[in-house]
Symmetry: C2
Subunit: 340 residues, 2 copies
DNA sequence: ACTGGCACTCAGCAGAGGGGAGTGCCAGCA
DNA sequence: TGCTGGCACTCCCCTCTGCTGAGTGCCAGT
């Protein structure tokens, strides 16, 4: 039913439409792509493709544009990811390596992604809940005033300042610190929270209330959901190239970008590291974004994805190039995170 | 030259134009505002206002729209800041008080500001260089691997993980920590950097190279300019209400929002706490933003402004309301920062 | 199975015309 | 002197019209 040439025609239509943003007609097609057949033949193929729902006509006497279904076929079967140039790879790697801390890594990543894809980039901070404890620190700032610092395997640092009364002796604090670290280091945050929970029992009754305040705060930091939602966005200016119609294509995206909850849903569940999520138009869980697509993937230093990153763009985008860029950036970030 | 009635006319024109976005004519003016005179009289006044450059005609037979100069006069002389409603004040205060750390304060602030003004909100993180040192912590994570934590008076926390060789003894680290805090606490960061610089000399020669690595890193953190540039943006979706023309009004703003350097310049130098900066259209240092205005002010817990916050919107905006909102938010944030 | 030819459709553009909002000016009136 | 009503004029904007040209579907021919 769909022979090779029809697929070629579909590919050609998508490529032309992506670059020109205009409906493409049979004549223009044969001129720009060496299909080896006449416009009339292409027209017949187009009629079939339209019947099957891969392309559509905006109005009777216009060229064709791809439908979501057409893009889907294109992404799944017609396209092989085109590798980045050596210069691009080098640029990514040197730029990301300059980062000094986790914040900086994420910031640079989002910047890089936006620049490479020329789309709106979204990077989720490495999930707290899925990473492990590297170190816990308890420090007395002033009598009764303590600083808790939690460092995770991804380099993320959470800190809390708390007041306890009665104040704790330095020796008690040192003891607490040692016990906390013994119980928590190397554990996943959720597990660490459980391990640590009843720690106060081991202390002198006089200190127990203070200690349990500290432990409770720490458990709170271990299981802080707020931080799982942290997200960074970049390249909003690329919306300018989104297309003509402001209300139907740009406004909904701007609104989605404001709602981090929506964005998290767009990025999707952290998938395995190698998997690439491409969701096109109506495949997205938001009706208003039916003119947009999302390309996302997981990243993380280990075997498993800790968080997601990706881009949002118009359905009419350069999928092969975008997919390649997103994948490359994800790989480099994962690598950087592994090193630190 | 400009009697009271002419000023009334100007005010009426601005109010109508801000709410309708359309050039306002003499007849509509007398209908909507009880000026007590006839359209013909208003026309005469308008002619004068136009001669003086406060209003302009888009084309011969259209109503008038305010010029930048007109808005300027309006802001300087014709308007008294209208206070927020009690409900609004309460909303701000309770929402901001829920914040758990500095990041959270800034995030909530930007959100609040965007919501109240319905414009794009910009909040600069409290300047590192202008705040003082609250605490410095040095912790051994593993032999030769140290964590430095710097806490500032604004609650900001900077941390660095560094490797030194040879590894330092716990006693040496404790000594170093004590000396660092003695020299740095309460100092402005820049001063602290100077105080601390030659600290390595006091240590055993064998440890000096490691100690000076640590000190150097800390001095780096003290004078990290990168962090002075940190900025948070919110309410981009409000751009949707900016106006008709995408290219001339929205695109330049989106581009400016990408460039944090530009934003810092827009917010301007931190002014005294009470001063309000309003820059209208061409008064802004960027030609492309001639259709936008910025309303900004400083904020900070003490007497002096530590950083700025504000909004960007179309020149055609509700200045009294916006100014009131920006001022109120700045006050509340300052207060919250003072408490923590 | 492909091609050239042909009639048909229809978005988009340009030009014409009318309506209407708004102006400037002038003469008259308090 | 300052305000007002009236009037002629300007010119944007909307609508209508007709045209053009790209693109299509179909058919007969190879």
């Amino acid at each position: 039913m769909l022979d090779d040439r029809k697929l070629d025609v579909l590919r050609a239509i998508i490529e032309d439409y992506v670059s020109t943003q205009e409906p493409v007609g049979s004549k223009a097609l044969v001129e720009r792509h060496r299909l080896g057949v006449s416009p009339a033949t292409v027209r017949n193929d187009m009629a079939v493709l339209e019947d099957e729902g891969f392309i559509a006509q905006p109005h009777t006497s216009a060229g064709r544009i791809p439908t979501d279904k057409g893009y889907r076929l294109f992404v799944d079967r017609l396209t092989s990811v085109k590798p980045l140039s050596a210069a691009e790879r080098r640029a990514i790697s040197t730029f990301l390596e300059g980062a000094v801390d986790l914040d900086d890594v994420v910031q640079r990543t989002v910047r890089m992604l936006a620049q490479l894809t020329r789309q709106v980039a979204i990077v989720q901070y490495p999930s707290l809940t899925r990473s492990t404890v590297r170190h816990v620190e308890v420090v007395t700032l002033a009598p009764g005033r303590l600083l808790l610092v939690l460092i995770t395997s991804t380099g993320r640092v959470e800190q809390r300042v708390i007041e306890v009364s009665p104040a704790l002796d330095d020796a008690v604090v040192a003891d607490l610190r040692a016990r906390l670290n013994a119980l928590a280091i190397g554990q996943r945050l959720a597990d660490a929270a459980v391990n640590v929970e009843s720690l106060a029992d081991a202390f002198d009754p006089a200190d127990q209330s203070s200690v349990s305040t500290i432990v409770a705060t720490l458990v709170g930091a271990f299981s802080d959901e707020r931080s799982d939602e942290r997200i960074l966005i970049g390249g909003t200016a690329n919306l300018a190239r989104f297309g003509e119609s402001f209300d139907t294509s740009i406004k909904p995206v701007l609104e989605a970008l404001e709602e981090h909850v929506v964005l998290l849903k767009l990025l999707g569940e952290a998938t395995s590291l190698s998997a690439m999520t491409v969701r096109i138009g109506h495949e997205l869980p938001f009706e208003e974004l039916s003119a947009s697509s999302v390309v996302a993937t997981g990243y993380g230093p280990g075997e498993e994805a800790l968080a997601n990153l990706g881009i949002v763009g118009p359905t009419r985008m350069d999928y092969p190039g975008t997919i390649a860029a997103v994948r490359a950036v994800a790989r480099y970030v994962s690598q950087i995170l592994g090193e630190s």
